[in-house]
């Protein structure tokens, strides 16, 4: 049991500290897009970037999923969590337009949130009342993708790892005393 615990703790530490992206700048720009220069999409909120394009969810989410995987030195892909669109108000900013909101995450590590606003279906028909094309610069676009990345420092990860390891040890010892 002791060896199992040591192996687990060491593997967990390696998993948590393996390098990965440290800023939103480390992620690729969305292909064939205009980067948003609107207030709230640049420097006002940390680690946010947004793109106007004609790329829809079926393309955008796998694109960043693959990009995040490539940027992280782990041999397995991250997880995808599908959040309700309105949750983007908590994570990005209030009044974020959204029709889908997904999180690409390595548990106990960092998260990349992908928010999409698609007022039209891919065939060009409007999705809801008030649908309008998005105007950025001289172009009109069908979709807007907003990314927010939440990095964390290695020190924080180490403290959390230490806390988890100590907690497991205490739980095991106390559990034995209480149950048996």
């Amino acid at each position: 049991m002791k060896n199992l615990y040591i192996v687990f703790s060491v593997l967990l530490l390696i998993y948590m500290l393996v390098p990965g992206p440290s800023s939103i700048e480390n992620f690729k720009s969305l292909p064939n897009s205009d980067k948003s220069t609107l207030a709230g999409d640049t420097v006002q909120i940390p680690n946010v970037s947004a793109y106007f394009s004609d790329n829809f969810r079926d393309f955008v989410v796998p694109f960043y999923f693959q990009n995040y995987k490539e940027k992280t030195w782990l041999p397995f892909p991250p997880l995808k969590l599908n959040h309700p669109p309105e949750f983007s108000w908590n994570v990005i900013k209030r009044h974020t337009d959204s029709t889908y909101f997904e999180e690409i995450v390595y548990p106990l590590r960092d998260s990349l949130y992908v928010n999409g606003y698609e007022p039209f279906y891919e065939d060009g028909s409007p999705k809801f009342w008030g649908s309008a094309k998005l105007n950025e610069g001289k172009n009109l676009w069908f979709t807007k993708t907003t990314l927010r990345f939440f990095p964390s420092s290695p020190i924080v990860k180490f403290i959390v790892w230490l806390g988890i390891s100590v907690s497991i040890l205490f739980l095991y010892k106390l559990g034995r005393k209480i149950i048996f």
């Binding site: 969590l81 309700p84 959204s98 739980l171 106390l174 209480i178 149950i179």
Partner: protein, 473 residues
Amino acid sequence: MKLIKNTNSILFCLILFLFAFIPLYPKFPLINIQGTFVAIRIEDFIIALTLGLWITHSVYSGQLKRILQDKLNQALLLFFFIGILSTFSAIFLTHSVTPHLSILHYLRRIEFMLLMPVVAWTINSRKKFVWALITLATTVFMVNVYALGQQYLDWPVISTSNSEFSKGLILSLSPGARVNSTFAGHYDLAIYLTMCLSVLTAIFFAVKKRFKLPLAALGLFSLFILIITAARQSFLAAFIGIVFSLVLSKKKKYILFILICTGVILVYPSQLRDRFISTFTVNILNLGKRYEGKTQDQQIRSRLNIPTLAVKTSSTSAAMSTFASPSGSLATDITPGEPIDSTQLGVYRSLQIRLNIEWPRAARAFIKNPFLGTGYSSLDIATDNDFLRSLGEVGLLGTLAIVLVFIQVGKRMLILLKNDNKLIRYFSAGVFSMMVAFIINGMFIDVFEASKVASAFWMMMGLGLATFNFKDD
């Protein structure tokens, strides 16, 4: 020495006061917190004073070492340690909480749970124990009287069911609304009564004949108030709690009587009966007339199900508006697919909110950080399942720690079932049953976070454990 004895007496008085004050004092806010409509109230300060006095007393009386050596207290401390770690992880690693809210939620857990050792170590004699029981019984009676006043005499209602009400507005019960007595929510009142019924059932068999009639009357009074709260889950939990009490008190022959009474209650016309029927027809059999949508926009919005999208409104033509019913015959926010009948709509939403919003949110939080969850307050105000909430907020480690607390309390209660003293024996049976009923309530309601019932629960658990430390037995 005299000072220590005096402090113990003050602590005992404070505990008696809290046994009455927490359930009886309405939820008037004292200090509002930015970002939530949960407020700090006067009872938080009284509990903090009690906890502070107890910790100081424990240090000066030399009890601290013994308290820390207790396995149950060690499990509590481990739970608090994992709570701190989870909060740290939520603020700095997963970035899933607003720091001040998470810290306050964490402190709330400590506040409620520490009441258990405080009561367990302060009520150290049979005399004090009996005083606590008398206070409890009187409090339950007063809670019930107030509920009755709300129902039939239009006594004031203080509610925290939405952000506006939680400012401490004094309301009155509208037609069809359910009583909450002093609990600010009908579920909270129902859970409190469930706890009391489990304990009262067991104690009934322990007391002398002259006390049996008042206790039976108090039990029936509580049952009546429970019925008018129309809380299905709590009614079911109360039934299971009472049956557990009878089994552990070795009074199994009364179970048939309880079954018959339950059957009669469920047949007799009431809001509770209607909600049980709606549960079957709407949630299980998928029957009942459904709203089909009035405008095309409403149908589209219902399909997309994104509340933050622009809403089509019109000040000139009701037919243009997305909102359903200008005449008031339907709920204004009804969407296609939902039942038209208001009772059925309430029952339908009650389950759908859990299945489609709250429980998946907790599951996502658990996936994101399986060991520590995404921190206190990260799952919004409610999950309506305490097991999922625990996994989502403090992960597997925090959940295992709290499970250890329950195992240890359960083991001690079962040991006390063999105690020579009849009152202690039956009271332990009642507290164990109360724990079972409380956990069953926790499958559909956040019972461990509801301040009044959570505080009362940990204090009752403490009272059960206190019987271990009696000096005069």
